[in-house]
Symmetry: C2
Subunit: 231 residues, 2 copies
DNA sequence: TAGATTGTTAATCGATTAACAATC
DNA sequence: TAGATTGTTAATCGATTAACAATC
């Protein structure tokens, strides 16, 4: 049991627990129960306890979790105990926004360089960083020990950029380009394609049951009104 | 069987199928098998067939799916057959980037207004839109029939903005603020908290097995090196 | 008709939820 | 000690995968 593979769903919840613990520590709340964490996070208390138990026994029966202690543990689990250097590939609207956003707001991550192929963007200042030409990518990955990178360029250029950064040692990519990136075993990609998110929301924004029902049964009024009353 | 509730995971895959079909139609590819769709999307052929089968029988046994036909069907299923009007709350870095991005790139969605509370941002031009004061939100929601909205403001202001837009009829929210929004039944929220995405990636960016193992077993070298060989 | 590929049912897998003994 | 809450095992639920009959 020491090292079963911990599922992606568990890992995705850890930063949410951390965010809540950050706030609690700041507000000088010393202890928190899984029940209360449930209220804050929207996950069930059982799920929270189980998630944490994958990594150790961090609580105290009868009284809950010490916020500062649990926070430290989660920071170590995720690997945020030293600042992570990242680079942003693409200095367009999104790349610029993300660079500014992370530089100012995130205590755990540092954007140390921004790159673009477009000569017009080179040397443009974003926060305190000058946009660099794509040729510098390998050099910077090496010198700054980059393991994580954000890809904010158009789909047609994204695979090439991916191959380049992976070749030079990047292990994790946050991909904003609308394309499925191919990466070798051991390299992780999270897709943050905002178009996909937005479109799947649109599904829920109107009376979907009615729409789908109509699609399946044609204009048959009986059928569609019947199913519309369900759920 | 007419209207079982279709799971969120299925709905999230639909826009990805659509994106691939958009490309195929553009490239004049007429037919595609679930096997080929699998190659393009990274999902299994079985899953793709099953996903589509929730909504109807769109393929032809022996030859696969007609790309243009399937594309039209998926557009109807998601509800993209008429352009969806959306608004962006928050004209900071991210709100600005998303407004520009959607205005230019997305054929299915239209950002029709951007709002901010900051007087310094009011009237700032983003693409061809002038940033409007938050007071105008109800008016615009009503006049443009807004059902979907993007929230790009700091966490402390996000719940208030949510309550306001929901009160005036918004049914789906893409939330970029690092907070769990409370919404009434029937309103859908997708969280696109980029910090969370980035942090969970960091977990995978280093030799996580080793790290976790050390955390659980202390500095016991035997244990940690043993488990490190696994996986 | 033979080969290919869908649509659908059954089997498996994994994740969530429930239950409860351990223990502060 | 009694009450509370964890950590963990067992039960349930849902989603994915496998298998295959239907059919182009």
């Amino acid at each position: 049991m020491p090292d079963q593979n911990i599922s992606k769903s568990v890992i995705k919840r850890l930063p949410i627990y951390l965010r809540i613990l950050d706030q609690l520590v700041r507000r000088d709340v010393e202890m928190i129960s899984s029940k209360e964490l449930s209220n804050e996070s929207g996950f069930t208390a059982e799920q929270i306890r189980k998630d944490l138990a994958y990594f150790g026994a961090f609580g105290t029966r009868g009284s809950g979790y010490n916020t500062a202690f649990l926070r430290e543990k989660i920071i170590k689990i995720i690997g945020l105990d030293s600042k992570t250097n990242t680079i942003v590939i693409g200095a367009g609207n999104l790349g610029t926004a993300l660079t500014r956003y992370n530089l100012t707001k995130n205590p755990y991550v540092d954007v140390v360089a921004v790159f673009d192929k477009d000569p017009n963007l080179i040397s443009k200042e974003i926060h305190h960083l000058k946009v660099q030409p794509a040729e510098n990518i390998p050099k910077i990955i090496k010198s700054k020990g980059i393991k994580v990178c954000l890809i904010c360029i158009p789909a047609y250029a994204a695979q090439e950029a991916t191959d380049l950064v992976v070749e030079h040692g990047v292990k994790a990519i946050l991909n904003f380009a609308p394309i499925k990136l191919s990466v070798p075993e051991g390299v992780h990609v999270h897709n943050a394609d905002l178009t996909i998110e937005l479109q799947s929301l649109i599904y829920y924004s109107s009376a979907e049951e009615e729409r789908i029902s109509r699609l399946k049964h044609g204009k048959n009024e009986d059928e569609s009104s019947k199913s519309f009353t369900r759920e």
